[in-house]
């Protein structure tokens, strides 16, 4: 391999661990077996045992592993490095304190099937978090079992289905339409489908809001089981008519599910339960700062009205006198959505987040998140097309309309932003804005960083005029350039194999 420039570490192209493996290297040591050894054939006959000697599994030393992962890590952008303004993802600061408390031995070493009397602290923690989330959402039934946002969403629509089946009996069959705005997250229709609903799409208005006339028309067509709505919606605007929207759905006999992905705009300011929402999921990894971890783990609590509470997943965590208990006796429950009780480690972190902020800190975070987005909107409105005039909440949307005339598209702007040291925003979502750029700074960004981001965006807008090729060819600062995703999908290579060419073709 030829190294043509100064690099951070010796290999520009860190090999796969499989290529690094050397027979005989070891990275572990176990204590010697301290029991009398039984002939293995008496434990497990040979035909049940592996005979491939774990072919291909690497043999490396501990130092090899440390260097391998440390080098790879340097190719990642992260929140700790700088602003990560992925709209809808709420990339806020992940506190080290939360990491520390989740690792306390009394939590980390606790087996989920330990007797309840021996796990009272964990049950109490779950109960406390349930109470706090009920207060924050204004919805008193809470289950922390779902493992992620989309999982909480599936749980939420299943609650609606169970409620309708009970209320309407056989007639529930005539009520299988879930209304979903055209701006919704793709998981919404996928989750609705899992609960046996068919989807009808509601149009958005030119102002970026739910089209009330279209909503009414769809309700008049009948069969409406419910509505799945994100609020603030995915263009970052609060649905001002939210009460009326909920009333229309309720009058039509349906229920309202709110996608809580954007709760970071509302905590301490307004509560979905007070607008008329029946069920919501939260993303603890967004609003409550549990780490995104390169794509999980999440935790997607589901909060609902008292009316829907009997249908929540089992077991529920309840308090009886001074004791905390798992309650399995919920005959109307939709059932379990996950083994055990959910991603407990994420609950510890989220509770620590709430405790650290307290009531005033939670509101302060909401205010800062909204102000930061408003500030970006204010400064970029000249340089970029801002498709909606309404006040943005915690995220602000632009389009590439002004730049595309020069042949520069959203993808190019996103890639060029990398050269300025920022992670790109969310791009091409929501689908209702052509060339969408959805920017969510979160509260974890100070004014200097916001100004630097604004300068970078303005500079890219200027480059689009002066030197569009520079933008179109971006990024220029990364180890690799834009990758050929089309070929990757056409001829997928999804694993290493012994005789495979996995290094660069140029090497």
């Amino acid at each position: 391999m030829s190294i043509k420039k100064v690099t951070q570490h010796p290999t520009q192209n860190e090999e796969l661990i499989f290529d690094r493996s050397q027979m005989g290297r070891v990275g572990y040591r176990l204590p010697n077996l301290d029991v009398e050894e039984t002939n293995i054939d008496d434990i497990l006959p040979q035909e049940l045992r592996r005979d491939d000697d774990l072919a291909g599994v690497p043999e490396v030393s501990e130092v090899d592993v440390i260097r391998h992962f440390t080098r790879m890590s340097t190719w990642n952008f992260s929140i700790d490095l700088g602003m990560y303004p992925l709209g809808s993802c709420t990339m806020k600061y992940n506190s080290r304190l939360n990491e520390k408390v989740a690792r306390i031995a009394g939590f980390a070493n606790l087996h989920p099937l330990a007797p309840e009397s021996e796990a009272q602290g964990a049950l109490e923690l779950i109960y406390k978090l349930q109470e706090d989330l009920a207060e924050i959402t204004g919805l008193k039934g809470v289950s922390l079992q779902p493992a992620a946002g989309a999982h909480g969403e599936m749980t939420g629509v299943m609650l609606i289905r169970a409620f309708l089946d009970k209320r309407d009996g056989e007639k529930s069959r005539e009520r299988r339409v879930m209304l979903i705005p055209d701006s919704a997250h793709g998981t919404n229709p996928a989750s609705a489908h899992l609960a046996g609903f068919t989807v009808k799409t509601i149009r958005s208005t030119a102002e970026g809001l739910t089209d009330m006339e279209h909503l009414k028309t769809l309700c008049e067509e009948g069969g409406v089981a419910g509505l799945m709505l994100t609020n603030p919606n995915t263009v970052g605007i609060f649905e001002t008519n939210i009460k009326e929207i909920c009333d229309i759905i309720h009058e039509a006999g349906g229920l309202v599910y709110m996608d809580g992905a954007n709760m970071n705009a509302l905590v301490g300011v307004a509560r979905p339960g007070d607008f008329g929402v029946d069920v919501i999921h939260l993303n603890l990894h967004k609003t409550f700062s549990t780490p995104h971890g390169g794509g999980g783990p999440g935790c997607g609590p589901c909060c609902c009205t008292a009316e829907l509470e009997p249908f929540l997943p089992v077991p529920r965590v309840i308090k009886e006198d001074e004791n905390y208990k798992l309650d399995f006796n919920r005959p109307e429950s939709i059932g379990r959505v996950k083994a055990f009780f959910g991603n407990f480690g994420m609950m510890v972190r989220a509770l620590a987040y709430i405790q650290t902020h307290g009531a005033e800190g939670l509101r302060e975070a909401t205010e800062a998140a909204v102000l930061n987005a408003r500030y970006i909107g204010h400064h970029l409105v000249e340089a970029f097309d801002k498709p909606f005039k309404s006040d943005s909440m915690h995220e602000v949307i632009f389009s590439h309309k002004k730049q595309s005339r020069k042949g520069v598209h959203t993808l190019d702007i996103a890639k060029r932003l990398i050269d300025y040291g920022f992670h790109p925003m969310t791009i091409y979502f929501p689908l209702i804005v052509e060339g969408a750029m959805l920017i969510e700074p979160t509260e974890s960004v100070g004014r200097q960083d916001l100004d630097a981001f604004i300068d970078a965006m303005k500079s890219i807008a200027q480059e689009t005029i002066d030197d569009p090729e520079l933008v179109i060819g971006a990024p220029h600062s990364t180890r690799i350039g834009r990758l050929d995703e089309a070929t990757a999908a056409r001829k997928p290579v999804l694993r290493w194999k012994p005789d495979m060419e996995t290094l660069s073709k140029s090497a």
Partner: protein, 449 residues
């Protein structure tokens, strides 16, 4: 608030710049009658010292975490090399997100690719995804996948699959047109009852078997695979104890079409049930029906090798309600921990740890079976878990053992199977010393006297 960089003065200046007089005015688009207009009724802000103290008080009440334990049943106590937890705490890994922009997420994409490869190697399958929420949800997704692949509407599942996994699958499938039928187990061997396999028919999308099964018994997968394939059904193998891959014949080598597993044993703390990580692998020909994310190799214009998320056309942001699954995230950081675990232990470590588990469990089961009144009801070969039949109700014995000896001796099967009040499930891993096993045996002997 120390996590919010701007000072009140900076905030006020910024408000002025955007044309507002106060922070309250930020929320003008929210009608006043739906604003909260009061403080939330949650705790006052706590300092770091206070949060740690509160949390330690709660953790202290989890007495089970300090006791010698022989609990398994889908969550296992294993050794995790120190570097696992150290490496996953690098900012670059734990504070990044789904690798939407490959140029600045190659670290994540490359470890996902290595994870996929390792899962293939251990399960003996062609292709694996970037992980699922956990083993239970992975199994439910496998049901839906089998239905998509075969266009059939019945799944036949062994009664010896983890009861909570079965419960999750029932939740997932309750509104589709998929029927679930259970196959009973043989009371002598503890394995699936082959006479009961006449439930397999031309409507069957899949036969689903866990091995080692919930009772710790290793199933004869080869024969079961043939039975499933005879009727054109897929054979789905579920593994809750991933350490067993180091010793047992891989499901792929036995004819599995889809393998789902819980990866918690690979260096992930028990953490009262989560977060864990689901492994999901299948044969090549089914890859386009597979749920979840996939990383693949791609090249840039200069020929540099990199990785991207690929085959996204299966996913919900493109397919919406026609997606293969509603799954959006994987278990990124936990999959990373599992990857580091597998690579650090390596070929020899995975073999040795599996062997130690089998040896220690064999020692423990032999010793327990020698106690007057105790027996091992199932004759099939076992890995690191086994059922013990006690002379008295298991719950009573285990409660006494905990209270008097400070040992959590296992899981009473009455939690899931009302018919077996005297049976309990014991798990022994490399972390259980001979002394702990001997204390368990002595404790059981004394208590049952």
């Amino acid at each position: 608030m120390r996590y919010i960089p701007n000072s009140p003065e900076e905030r006020d200046e910024m408000l002025k710049i955007v044309g507002l007089n106060s922070a309250d005015e930020l929320f003008r688009s929210i009608p006043n009658d739906v604003q909260l207009n009061r403080a939330l009724d949650v705790t006052a802000p706590l300092s770091e010292i206070e949060v740690i103290s509160e949390m330690e008080k709660l953790a202290e009440k989890n007495m089970a975490a300090r006791k010698t334990s022989f609990l398994g049943a889908g969550a296992y106590s294993h050794y995790s090399p120190t570097i696992v937890d150290h490496l996953i705490q690098r900012s670059e890994f734990f504070t990044s997100y789904t690798p939407y922009q490959p140029e600045v997420t190659q670290g994540t994409l490359q470890y996902i690719f290595e994870f996929q490869t390792l899962v293939c190697q251990l399960t003996g399958m062609d292709v694996a995804n970037a992980s699922m929420y956990d083993g239970s949800t992975a199994m439910a997704e496998a049901f839906l996948m089998a239905q998509r692949v075969t266009k059939r509407d019945k799944v036949v599942i062994a009664e010896t699959v983890h009861p909570e996994y079965l419960a999750v699958a029932k939740t997932y499938t309750q509104h589709g047109d998929l029927k679930i039928e259970t196959v009973h187990f043989d009371k002598e061997s503890g394995r699936i009852l082959s006479d009961d396999l006449d439930k397999l028919d031309a409507q069957t999308a899949a036969l689903v078997v866990q091995s080692p099964n919930f009772f710790g018994c290793v199933e004869d997968l080869q024969i079961l695979a043939d039975k499933a394939h005879e009727v054109g059904a897929l054979f789905i193998v579920v593994v809750t104890e991933a350490i067993s891959f180091g010793l047992l014949k891989s499901p792929g080598a036995c004819g599995a079409d889809i393998v789902v597993a819980e990866g918690q044993s690979f260096g992930i703390p028990l953490s009262y049930g989560g977060p864990y990580v689901g492994l999901f692998a299948c044969k090549d020909k089914y890859v386009r029906n597979m749920p979840g994310r996939l990383a693949g190799i791609a090249y840039d214009a200069k020929g540099n090798r990199g990785f991207v998320l690929t085959l996204a056309t299966r996913e919900q942001h493109i397919r919406r309600e026609k997606a293969t699954s509603n799954i959006c995230t994987n278990q990124g950081l936990i999959a990373l921990a599992a990857t580091i675990y597998m690579e650090t232990m390596g070929k020899r470590g995975l073999q040795e740890v599996a062997m130690q588990n089998a040896q220690k469990a064999a020692y423990a089961s032999n010793r327990i079976s020698e106690i007057e009144g105790f027996s091992l009801p199932f004759s099939a070969p076992k890995f690191n878990e086994f059922v013990v039949r006690a002379p008295k109700p298991a719950e009573e014995i285990l409660a006494k053992l905990t209270n008097e000896k400070g040992i959590i001796g296992g899981l009473s099967l009455s939690r899931y199977y009302a018919k077996n009040p005297n049976d309990f499930l014991v798990c022994v891993t490399e972390l259980n010393t001979k002394e702990q096993i001997d204390n368990l045996v002595e404790g059981l002997r004394e208590i049952s006297e």
